[in-house]
Point group: C2
Chain length 339, copies 2
C-alpha cells in the first residue's frame, strides 16, 4: 500500500476497467447493479478518494475561487471573507486568499497567479479602479469576476455595491441639524467607488441644506490609520477647528481618534464623530460612536452567490447592499452654541 490509492487500484481490485470505475463513481446511468456493487466495495475497501488535481486538469474546472483584498486583517473584510468562504464551501468550492497589501503591482501579480492556477472565478476588492494594468489583467483572466464596491467599465463583471451615499447623507444631515458646519471628511482616494459614493452623500446633504461644502476639510487619500491621523491632526490645528469629523472606514477612524487622544479632546463633548463602518467589539468598547453600518456577512455571502450564478451560466449582475446611519452620543459634542 504505497502512496495514495488511484482509480487504477480500484479497477484492479474490482477486476473491471478504469472507465467502468469512473462511470460508477461519477453516477453515469449505464451501469449494472453488479458492476456498481463491485466497484463500490473496492473503492470503500481501499479508501479511494478521487484526486481533485487530475479531475481539474481533465474537466477544466478547479472548484477554486480566488479572493483578493487589500488586507485580511481589516475586520470588515475578515467577516466578508468568512461569510464568503462558508457559502462557497457549502457549494463545493474552496477559496484562495491573497492580500494585495495596498499595492497595484502585488494585486496584478496575484491576478496573474490565479490565472495560472486556473481558478474558476475571482472575487476582488481592487486597490484602485484606474491603475493601468487593471483592465488588461482582468480581461485576460478568462474567468468570472465579482468586484467588491468597485466600478470599472467594460469588464462584464458582477459586483457587490454598497449604497454608502444614503447612510453618509443621513449622517451628514444629522450633523448639520445639530448645528455643525465645519465638518471634516477623511477617507480613501477617489479612484475607488467607495470614496466617491461617500462624498456624494456628503455633498448632497450640504446641497440640500443650502450650505456650502467645506472643501478644505475634505481629505481623500487613504483608508489607513496613518493617513487618518495625519490629516485629523492637520485639521485640528486650523482656526476655527472642525467641530465634527466623518471618518471613512475602520483604519481611518482609528487614526482620527488617535489625533483626538493626542489633543485630549473627548469624543461627544469636545468634538463630534461619525464612523463609517463598524467593527467587532464596536458596541462593547467604542461605546456611543455614531456610525454608518453595512452588513459584512451580507456582502460576503452575496459575493459568493454572484460568482456561483455566473458559474451556473447566468449573466453577471450587480447587487446593492444598504447602509444604515445610527446616531449615538458621539455626534453631540463640539458645537459651542447650537442655534
Amino acid at each position: 500500500m504505497e502512496g495514495p490509492v488511484t482509480i487504477r487500484d480500484v479497477a484492479a481490485r474490482a477486476g473491471v476497467a478504469l472507465s467502468s470505475v469512473s462511470r460508477v463513481l461519477s453516477g453515469h446511468p449505464d451501469v449494472s447493479a453488479s458492476m456498481r456493487a463491485k466497484v463500490e466495495e473496492a473503492a470503500q475497501a481501499l479508501g479511494y478518494e478521487p484526486d481533485l488535481l487530475a479531475q481539474s486538469l481533465r474537466s477544466g474546472a478547479t472548484r477554486t475561487i480566488g479572493f483578493i483584498i487589500r488586507d485580511i486583517a481589516n475586520p470588515l473584510f475578515a467577516v466578508v471573507a468568512r461569510a464568503c468562504e462558508q457559502e462557497l464551501r457549502r457549494n463545493g468550492y474552496s477559496l484562495i486568499l491573497m492580500n494585495s497589501d495596498g499595492s497595484v503591482e502585488t494585486e496584478s501579480k496575484n491576478f496573474a497567479l490565479l490565472r495560472r492556477r486556473r481558478v474558476d472565478g475571482v472575487i476582488a476588492s481592487l486597490v484602485a479602479e484606474d491603475s493601468p494594468y487593471v483592465k488588461k489583467t482582468i480581461l485576460s483572466l478568462r474567468a468570472p469576476l465579482v468586484l467588491l464596491d468597485r466600478d470599472v467599465k467594460g469588464l462584464n463583471a458582477s459586483a457587490v455595491i454598497t449604497d454608502h451615499a444614503i447612510g453618509v447623507k443621513a449622517a451628514t444631515k444629522h450633523l448639520l441639524d445639530l448645528g455643525h458646519r465645519d465638518i471634516a471628511f477623511i477617507s480613501g482616494a477617489a479612484n475607488v467607488y467607495t470614496t466617491r459614493n461617500r462624498i456624494k452623500g456628503f455633498s448632497e446633504a450640504f446641497g440640500e441644506a443650502g450650505i456650502p461644502l467645506p472643501e478644505k476639510l475634505i481629505a481623500l487619500g487613504g483608508f489607513d490609520a496613518e493617513y487618518g491621523l495625519i490629516h485629523a491632526r492637520h485639521f485640528l490645528l486650523k482656526n476655527p477647528r472642525p467641530t465634527a469629523f466623518v471618518a471613512g472606514g475602520i483604519g481611518s477612524t482609528a487614526g482620527v481618534v488617535r489625533a483626538f487622544n493626542e489633543m485630549k479632546l473627548e469624543i461627544g463633548r469636545d468634538v463630534a464623530l461619525v464612523a463609517l463602518d463598524e467593527w467587532p467589539l464596536f458596541d462593547v468598547f467604542a461605546t456611543d460612536i455614531s456610525s454608518v453600518y453595512r452588513d459584512p456577512e451580507a456582502i460576503g455571502s452575496e459575493a459568493a452567490h454572484l460568482i456561483l450564478e455566473v458559474l451556473n451560466g447566468n449573466e453577471a449582475r450587480e447587487s446593492v447592499i444598504a447602509t444604515k446611519f445610527t446616531a449615538r452620543a458621539s455626534s453631540q459634542g463640539g458645537v459651542v452654541s447650537v442655534q
Copy 2:
C-alpha cells in the same frame, strides 16, 4: 487564438519538440543558445504561461498550503493569516483558507478536502486536541502540518506555541499584589493547549503567593463572547462577587465587558480586568485595559517558516512565541480595601 496557449503551441511556433520547450523553460542545462532563443521568442510572442495544474499533477507538488482556523474574523487570527500568506507568497506558495466554525466535523471535512486537493502542507489551529478523528485524519494527510498553539502527541508535526503561562502568571501576580483574591478566570476548554497553559500561569501565581486557587471562579468552556457573557454574569451574582476578571481571548473579553456594562460596573473602578490578547484599535478604544500580549505577525510568519522548513527537507520542530504582560488602569479597580 482559442483558449489559453499551451506548450504545444509554443513548440509548433518555434518548430521544435515539446520536450525542448519544456527544457528551455525549466532551465535545463543541456540546451543550445539558438534553441533557447527560438523558444523564448515563441513563448514571448504567444504570451505563454505554464499551467500550474498540469505541472502539479506531473510533479506532485501544488505549491499550495491549507490554512484551517476556527474563524478568520477573530482579529488575532486575521493578522496571523495575513502574515502567513505574505510569507508564503514570497516563497511561491498560495494559501487556501478554511474556517472550521468551531466544529470538529467541519474541521475534519476540511482536512479531507485539503488532502484531495493535494496541498503541500497544512497550517491549522485545531478546534480540539482530543477529538476522536484528529489523529487519524491528520496522519492520513501525507503532508507536513504546523499546529498553532496546540499539542497533539504522536503526529510528528511542527508547532508554533505561545508561552501564555509567563504572561498570565505576571498578570495574576500583579492582581494579587494589588490585593485581589476573588479573581475570576474565563477562557476556552481545557482540551486545547492555550487554555491549559494559561491556567498553568494562573495557578503558579497563586501557588507562589501561598493563596488557594479560587476554583469556583474558573470557567473553561469557550473562547466566544456568548460563553464569556454568561459566565461573567453568573460570577457577578455571587456574594462576594469577584473583584477581578481575567478574560481568555478577544471573544471572551467582549462577553465579560458586556456583562460589566449590563451591571453598570466601570472597569478600573468597580472591577478589575486583564485581557489575554490584544486586537486592532486596542490602544485607541479599549483604553487602559491591562493585557497579556502576543505578536500575531510573528506567529503567522513563523508558521510559514516552519512549514517551508519541512518542505525543504528539514525536521519538524516547535517554535515558541513570548507573551508580555502590561499593567494598565483596568487592573486597579474593584478592591474595597487594599491591605
